[in-house]
Amino acid sequence: MRSKQENNKKLFLLNKLKSLDVQNYVLIVLMILLIVSISFVNPKFLRLRSFEAMINNYTLEGIMALGMTLVIISGGIDLSIAGIMPFSAIIYAYLIKAEINIYISMLIVLIIALFLGFINNFLRSLLKVHPFVVTLAMQLTLKGLNLVITDSQVITDFPENFTKLSNVKILGLSIPILVLIVLVIFYGVMLSQNRYFRYVYFVGSNPRAAELSGINTRRYFRFIYMQSGLLAGIAGIIACFIFNSAHASYGTGIETRVITIVAAGGASMIRGGIGNIRGTVLGLIFISMVYSSFIMSGISTYYQDVVTGLLLILAVVFSEKFREINIKTNIFKKREEENV
């Protein structure tokens, strides 16, 4: 009995190592290779500052990737964030320019963003088509609205109390980065510890079984799309902090970058129930590293979209392969007979 338990413990540790799946390892190796090769070209890259700058460029994507992770684990997709994010930025800009308290404005924007997420899910369940169609239509509608309400102009000249706030630094970190860090921690903890968050795995891998186990899946999907909308709203406000302006073009192509981050992190685009925040964070660091390595090496930043698309396709193609390797190398399957 005793030896069996010890055996178990050993297996558990091994499995813990394994739980970082193959795709995570591949990402880490690629990152190390990237760091080494860029450092040859540009030794400044190794400084902490440039790391911060690197993430800085991808704050908005990072925030929305957290919500997208949940959506993708649940087996869906949300393309509307590319509309909600700039929409929120624009509404926020108008509100604070109308001298409304900057915090109350935030609240209003977030409520609107939540409502847009609610609409996404409402349409999804009403129309019974794949969520990409519904959220694509929402994205376009909002993009059009953004252009119309701003007349394609940049909204700028924010009130002074806002610019003051946007320049605040805590522990040497700007507010956007702090928000990202807080959200990453929050989502990471919730998705691994909170039971309501964790049901996403159940709902994603087997919605019917989840229903039979007493989970209200309809309410659950509502939660998932609403939180995605909410994060896009937060990203919109953060966009105002970063750029000190708001413009309808802010979200262009952002949904692909966000999906790529999540897919590179190992969440499955083919079936639900697979993915986690740790992977998404790795994906975020990886993609932003690739992007900044372009800047460092003086390659045109226009390559960003090309690389995003390539990585998206590669990530989806390879993650299935990696998953097969994961299953094949599983130690538990081999030992199960001794174990029972």
Partner: protein
């Protein structure tokens, strides 16, 4: 009484008649409410110009939807094609070869989409979204964001000429979509595509070369996007990386309005033609009343949702009647 009821029912159930009636109603309403700005030559030529590009894209989109896929990359291919054709003409290549090469590039992009969907089993929207990003990015890279203008008159005349008072652009797109419409109705090959979209597994089990035909469908979509891009470059006299943004959803909306379904197996090019007309006219209505061209994105999004809803209602009505 009963007869009348039947007729009414038939009209509602025949999509094409419904679409024609809807288009007439919208056009009449606009003519009555905005006689000055709607009913004039420049407005109409504007409508027809944008319609032509959409019509060409919708030819491809309808075919892709029929096989049960979707192609989100077409907008980006339009931009790519406009740039390629602009660069080629500027380098002094003849109009004919420019068109051929550009369309070929479009078709190759389509084939890549098709291979990703069939061989690598990617969800169509993921694959084509990725390709969209790659191509759009490539367009920005090659142009560095600049427009490529100063194209030869030989090239620009291609779409600016009129034949018997009809702009050649309109003529090309309408004739091509009529041809596609007829092919969809008549050709053995396309009949098989309908079967694939209806039930991909049954099609494979029946020995229909499903993968090959899917790749072919995506290729056609790329082909038409390429052609559309050439004509845009010719019409506006330049190539630009920003062309075609949001075109894919307009094409999807038009096809779905015309009778295609997102799950595949249905689609009718003649319906799609009226779908394109309705999208264009509604768009114009927003511009007439809202005064801004930017309404076009919002309109295509909303129209797509409304159409999906109408289909949903129709489907549940059919279920209730016991089908």
């Amino acid at each position: 009484m009963r007869e009348k009821n039947k007729l009414y029912k038939q009209i509602i159930e025949n999509r094409l008649t419904t679409l024609i009636i809807i288009s007439i109603i919208i056009i009449l309403m606009l003519s009555i409410l905005k006689p000055g700005t709607f009913l004039n030559y420049s407005n109409f030529s504007g409508i027809f110009t944008t319609m032509s590009f959409d019509l060409l894209l919708s030819c491809g989109m309808t075919i892709v939807l029929i096989v049960g896929g979707v192609d989100l990359s077409v907008g980006a291919v339009v931009a790519l094609a406009s740039i390629i054709s602009a660069v080629l003409t500027k380098r002094g290549m003849g109009v004919f070869f420019t068109i051929i090469i550009t369309i070929l590039v479009g078709a190759i992009v389509g084939i890549i989409n098709g291979i990703l969907v069939t061989k690598f089993k990617l969800a169509p929207f993921v694959a084509t979204l990725g390709i969209q990003s790659i191509i759009r990015g490539f367009c920005y890279v090659t142009t560095s964001g600049y427009l490529i203008s100063g194209l030869s008159p030989a090239f620009t005349n291609l779409s600016r000429a009129t034949i018997v008072f009809i702009p050649s652009l309109v003529l090309i797109s309408v004739i091509l979509s009529i041809i596609v419409g007829i092919l969809l109705k008549k050709m053995n090959l396309f009949k098989q595509m309908y079967m694939i979209g209806t039930s991909p597994k049954s099609a494979e089990m029946s020995g229909i070369p499903a993968d090959k035909l899917k790749v072919f469908a995506y290729m056609l979509s790329g082909f038409f996007a390429g052609l559309s891009g050439v004509l845009i470059a010719s019409r506006y006299g330049m190539g630009a990386a920003t062309y075609g943004i949001g075109f894919e959803s307009r094409a999807i909306a038009a096809s779905v309005i015309g009778g295609a379904v997102m799950s595949g197996g249905e689609g009718d090019m003649f319906g799609t033609m009226f779908g394109v007309l309705i999208v264009a006219v509604v768009n114009n209505a927003f511009i007439q009343f809202g005064g801004q061209a930017e309404w076009q994105y919002a309109v295509s999004g909303i129209m797509l949702l409304i159409t999906l809803y109408a289909d949903r209602v129709k489907l549940s009505a059919m279920r209730r009647r016991g089908h």
